[in-house]
Structure formats: structure tokens, C-alpha cells
């Protein structure tokens, strides 16, 4: 490893950092004789950046040269910035060196487009192949597929990578074309389809040949940029919902637009990335994936945007006071999940614990329920004092947001953003 790798690493990590995905979970791969490493199955964060994001993978670009000129991207060809390109060997050595020191779970490799999409994709695939085949590396590999890459190369990528991703970036095609004239939705959805087909075909083949390597065992993911264009939350969440309904789509990431190219008139003048909105979208995404909410319950024509002041679950509850109060000693698990202040873990604990004793407020607090919120929506062994009915949705909203107001309104530093799988 030569010292000049230092400056390349700096440039190409800087260029890669705006992709928010960093998950390494979803696959378990055991060690092999003569091989390096394994994959744990649960996402391991090895560190956290100063902006509070999980560092799990070496997130890096092969090159930040690019023939395209996407307005939202720091690496667009019209930007004057330091450029660099890694060789395949350098990337392989770096990944293994970092992995052996327990810095990372594996590699997340993306790239600007050089020459042609296939030329670039071929190099990405070569890095993954070197790692997997030559070095028998069992750590995690995530490759970002190049828009416009051929089916053959996407298929080969799926044989070595755990996860593949193609970023949609902009939820509507009209706006995508506005900001990235060289791209359209087809160039994104085509490779997504290739990945999906690859997974389905591979699953068929594996029925007869179970030893066959799994195709992208951790599925695919994508990213949407928030706030660079005028889509409302409904348009964004409907896109996510459509994607989650496809087999193999594991995660949709939301990335608040960081104003990198302020000179471009097509982009809004933002002082700060829309962090609160981004957080609300993650919460809504959560509700769809783990809390049994339908997308139409979260946003609709009357409420096309998420409430920035309160989280989407509380917002739903206040719009549907008729569903409450919920009796924690008898309610279904699915209804417990809908109570503001009760998470998946505490809902499960409630179901287990109530088999022994009828639960009281005291027990609920100990279980870890956020009573500050939950008190307005539940009854337990004690009589309810002031649920949303005895007061009013407006009152509850006021009390719950007031508390925050004393702690510096909607200060983004109060938000906890986590990206577990």
C-alpha cells in the first residue's frame, strides 16, 4: 500500500459520502477454510460520524470522474473539484486491511460514470470478484449499479455482491429529467428489474443446486433525495410503497438534499438540509414496514405532507381519536403497535407480561413505555384520567409539542436518526 492512496481515499470518500445507505445486515455468511472473515447477519456499526451516522462499510467511489451532469450531485462533470481513480488492487487491499483491523464490515462501492456505463460497471464487478474469488473474502459487499449498465454485468455483479442498489434519487420522472437530463426512470428501473429477475432465476436454480452461490442475498435498496425538487411526501411515500411491494426491495433511503451546487438555478436555495422532514419520512417508512400501517393511512389528499411538529404515528392517532383509548390488558398486538409511545419491543413485552398480572401504569413505565405520550391513548388496570376523549386532540397536541418547545423547538440536533435494517 503506497502513501499516495491517502489522498485518493480522502477525495473518493468525500465524493461518496452523500449516499446515506450503509447497512450491512440481512446476510449471514460463515467463515470458510482459507477465507477471510464472515458476515454477521445483524448490522454492525463500527463507528459513528460526527453527523451521527453509522459507519459499517468502507463507503467509497472507484472514481469521481463522471461524464454526466446531474444537478444534485457534487461529482457532476461541470464541477471543478479534485478527481481521482482507484485501481482494482488498491481497493481490494484497502478493504481487506480495514476489515482485518475491525474498522468495517465490508465494502460499499459506487462510481461516477467513465467512458460508458458498461466500462464502469465492469470495473466495479472486478473489485467484487477479486475480493470474493481470489481472496475468498466473506465480508459484506454492496455494489451500486451504474444506470444504463447491461443485464449481463448486473447479473455478474449479483453473484459477488450481497446487496445491489440503484438510486432513483428523484421520485417523479419529470423532475428527474429536469435535474439529470441524461437520465430517465427507465435507466433506473431497468437495472432494478435485472436485479429482481436475477434473484428470482437464481432462487429457481438453487432448488436443484443448493450449493450455487446466492444472487444478491441481501436484496436491493435505493435512495430518494428529499427537498431538491417539489414532490410532496405523498408522492415520495407512494413511490416507496410501490418499491417495497416488489420482491427483494429491502430498503428505501431518504436523503435530505445537501445544498452542494448552490449556483444551479434549478435547485432550491436551502440554508440547511431538510433534516426534520427526512426524519419524519423515515418514521413513516417505519410505520409501513414494522407497524402494519398502510401508506394511505399516513398521507392522503387531505394531508399530503407529514406533520413536521409531531411524528406520523401520533399524527394518525390524533386524527383518529375514535380508535382510542386502547386497553393494554386486552388489546390485540396490532392495536398496541398503533399507540403513540409504544414501540415494537414494548408491545411484545406487554403481551408477554399481561399473562401473569393485569398491568398498571407503574408496570408500563418499567417496561419502557413513553407514558408522556401513551397516557392519552390507553387504559390499564387503573381508570384512565385524561385520555384524548376527556381532553381533545388539539389539547394533546398542544401539550406534547409545548414540552418540546421549551427544549428548543424543532432543533434538528434533538432528532435521533438511526438506520438499522
Amino acid at each position: 500500500m503506497k502513501p499516495e492512496v491517502l489522498s485518493k481515499l480522502e477525495i473518493l470518500a468525500e465524493s461518496a459520502k452523500y449516499d446515506v445507505s450503509c447497512a450491512s445486515s440481512g446476510v449471514t455468511r460463515n467463515k470458510t477454510a482459507g477465507g477471510i472473515g464472515n458476515t454477521a447477519g445483524w448490522g454492525i456499526c463500527h463507528s459513528f460520524t460526527e453527523d451521527g451516522r453509522c459507519v459499517s462499510l468502507l463507503k467509497i467511489m472507484l472514481t469521481n470522474y463522471c461524464i454526466y451532469d446531474c444537478a444534485y450531485c457534487i461529482n457532476r462533470r461541470s464541477n471543478d473539484l479534485k478527481r481521482a481513480t482507484f485501481s482494482v488492487d488498491e481497493l481490494v487491499e484497502l478493504t481487506i486491511g480495514f476489515y482485518r483491523r475491525n474498522y468495517i464490515e465490508g465494502l460499499f462501492l459506487s462510481s461516477g460514470v467513465i467512458n460508458t456505463p458498461d466500462y464502469t460497471m465492469e470495473r466495479l464487478v472486478r473489485v467484487a470478484k477479486e475480493l470474493r474469488v481470489t481472496h475468498r473474502f466473506n465480508g459484506y459487499i454492496h455494489l451500486k449499479s451504474i444506470p444504463g449498465a447491461s443485464e449481463e454485468l448486473v447479473h455478474e455483479a449479483g453473484l459477488y455482491a450481497d446487496r445491489l442498489s440503484v438510486n432513483i434519487e428523484i421520485a417523479t420522472e419529470k423532475n428527474l429529467k429536469l435535474l439529470a437530463p441524461e437520465k430517465d426512470h427507465e435507466s433506473v428501473f431497468k437495472p432494478m428489474q435485472f436485479i429482481q429477475q436475477g434473484m428470482i432465476e437464481n432462487a429457481e436454480l438453487r432448488k436443484n443446486a443448493p450449493k450455487l452461490r446466492k444472487f444478491a442475498p441481501a436484496g436491493q435498496s435505493t435512495q430518494l433525495i428529499i427537498g431538491a425538487t417539489d414532490e410532496n411526501d405523498k408522492a415520495i411515500l407512494l413511490t416507496s410503497d410501490m418499491l417495497y411491494n416488489k420482491p427483494g426491495m429491502k430498503r428505501v433511503y431518504y436523503s435530505g438534499y445537501v445544498p452542494v451546487n448552490t449556483y444551479d438555478q434549478r435547485l432550491p436555495a436551502l440554508k440547511q438540509p431538510p433534516l426534520v422532514r427526512e426524519n419524519r419520512l423515515y418514521q413513516a417508512d417505519w410505520l409501513m414496514r414494522f407497524y402494519g400501517f398502510n401508506v394511505n393511512e399516513i398521507v392522503d389528499d387531505r394531508f399530503p405532507n407529514l406533520d413536521l411538529e409531531i411524528d406520523p404515528k401520533l399524527s394518525w392517532a390524533l386524527r383518529h381519536p375514535g380508535q382510542f383509548p386502547v386497553d393494554v390488558n386486552t388489546a390485540d398486538y396490532s392495536m398496541l403497535l398503533r399507540v403513540p409511545g409504544i414501540g415494537v419491543k414494548s408491545a411484545k413485552t406487554i403481551v408477554m407480561a399481561r399473562r401473569f398480572t393485569k398491568l398498571r401504569t407503574y408496570d408500563l413505565k418499567k417496561i419502557g413505555i413513553v407514558m408522556k405520550k401513551a397516557q392519552y391513548f390507553i387504559t390499564c388496570l387503573e381508570l384512565p384520567i385524561r385520555t384524548v376523549h376527556e381532553t381533545s386532540p388539539e389539547y394533546v397536541r398542544k401539550v406534547l409539542t409545548e414540552k418540546k418547545a421549551t427544549k428548543k423547538a424543532v432543533d434538528p440536533s434533538q432528532l435521533t436518526l438511526v438506520f438499522p435494517e
Binding site: A13, F48, E50
Partner: protein, 253 residues
């Protein structure tokens, strides 16, 4: 009050349970051999640790509780917190005395507390799996000094044995002054008399492998480069990466 003295080992604690049932006398306090007894002690008994007692108690436990609960008991023990032994003792007695499983009866103070304690230890275990940093030494051993709140080395070595099966490594608890050495075949316990070779968690430069410093520099550079300045959030950063771990993190050092 009934007092038992024992050797403060886990096997000893199981022997305490054995003696209690044998004598039909249940202690309210567990003390080390030489610990002074409170004034109002009524009976005191000294427990001798014997593998036969230990095994019998553990086997009966295995029959009564889920594997997960056995793990929780070991985790709680490794917390090494004062009172953890008495908590485990009470938990085991309650398990034996109850006709049905108490494992999910979280309205019982001891059941809830044992779980919470085990969760704390488990969290520290996971943090160590995440935050350990190996430094490669000149003799090709990867060395990781750590200082966890709880005694979690026994809980993490399997993970590292599986992950780094082809490399020689040592994970060393500088607070408890012992570590585990893996030579690509088996694990052995080690204890150094001279800890000045790695002051503050940093191995002396002369002892490092050739490119080790370059790798550390690379990692530091990388860590800085991926931060998005527009989103800096020190509070969130510290919440995920508490300050007490920084000393041993290459990227924060």
C-alpha cells in the same frame, strides 16, 4: 438474618443455591469469605464450592428455563456489579419454587431487574464487537486493548474467532488486566506484567508492523472525509459513540 459466605465465583454461587435447599435455610445476604458480618446476623454458613453441587443446580436450571434465560444469568454475572450475585440467587430460587415459568413475569422486580442487567451487559458486548480496533504488531499479531464496563471478553471471543479465523490476535482488558490470545487454532488466557508497552491503548511505535501507521492514518482520513459538515450533530454523535470509548478508537485518538 441469615448470611452465607462463599468464594464469589459463579460456581460458588450455584453451590450457595445447592446448600440453601439442602439446609432449607435461605440466606438474605451473600458475603465473601472474609467480609465482616452485620450485627444482627442470626445464622451464618460457609459454602464450599464443589463441581458436583454446581452441576446439579445448573442441570436443574436447564430443565426449567429457556436457553436464553441461562444466557441472561451468565450475562448478569459478568456485570460484576455489587448485588448481582444476590439478584441471581433470588432469581434461581424463584424459578425453582414456582410451578410455572417466571421468565416473562416482568411485574416481578427480580425478573425485570435480571433482564435489564443482562441487557446492559449485552449492550456492552455488542459495543465491544463494534468498537474494538486491532493494531498490527511487527510479529503479525493483531492486538486490541479494551476497557469495557463489564467483563465481556468471555462473551465476544467466539465472534472474533469466527471472523478472524486466519489471523493471530489478542484482545486485552486493560482494566481487569487479562486477555485472550488466538493463535489461529485455539484460545488461551494471557496476562501481562508489563502494560507500559501499550500506554493509553496505543501500542509503542517500535512494536508496530510496517504499514500499521499508514492504515491508521488511512482510517482517520476516511472517518473525517465521510462526515457531512452541513449535518454535524455532536449530541447525536456522543449518544451513539459515548466519550468513554474514544480513547481506544483509532479514529478518535
Amino acid at each position: 438474618m441469615i448470611i452465607f459466605h462463599y468464594d464469589k465465583s459463579f460456581e460458588g454461587l450455584l453451590s450457595v443455591v445447592f446448600d440453601a435447599y439442602l439446609r432449607r435455610s435461605f440466606p438474605e445476604q451473600l458475603l465473601a469469605f472474609n467480609e465482616p458480618e452485620p450485627l444482627f446476623t442470626v445464622t451464618s454458613h460457609t459454602v464450599y464450592t464443589e463441581s458436583e453441587k454446581t452441576e446439579r443446580v445448573w442441570k436443574s436450571l436447564e430443565k426449567k428455563v429457556e436457553k436464553n434465560t441461562l444466557n441472561m444469568i451468565s450475562y448478569a454475572w459478568l456485570s460484576e456489579l455489587p448485588g448481582a450475585d444476590e439478584l441471581i440467587y433470588r432469581y434461581i430460587c424463584k424459578t425453582f419454587d414456582s410451578p410455572y415459568s417466571i421468565e416473562t413475569n416482568f411485574a416481578d422486580k427480580d425478573v425485570l431487574q435480571l433482564r435489564q442487567l443482562a441487557q446492559k451487559v449485552s449492550k456492552e458486548k455488542h459495543r465491544m464487537i463494534e468498537f474494538i480496533r486491532f493494531q498490527k504488531t511487527a510479529d503479525d499479531t493483531y492486538f486490541a486493548p479494551i476497557h469495557p464496563d463489564y467483563n465481556v471478553i468471555p462473551l465476544i471471543v467466539t465472534h472474533f474467532k469466527n471472523r478472524y479465523a486466519d489471523q493471530e490476535w489478542i484482545i486485552y482488558d486493560t482494566g481487569r488486566n487479562y486477555g485472550m490470545h488466538f493463535n489461529t487454532r485455539k484460545l488461551t488466557e494471557v496476562s501481562f506484567t508489563d502494560t507500559s508497552l501499550f500506554p493509553d491503548g496505543k501500542i509503542n511505535e517500535e512494536l508496530l508492523a510496517d504499514n500499521e501507521q499508514l492504515y491508521q492514518q488511512l482510517w482517520k482520513k476516511y472517518f473525517k472525509a465521510i462526515t457531512i459538515k452541513e449535518r454535524i450533530n455532536p449530541k447525536l454523535h456522543r449518544q451513539h459513540l459515548p466519550k468513554r470509548y474514544w480513547k481506544y478508537l483509532t479514529e478518535k485518538g
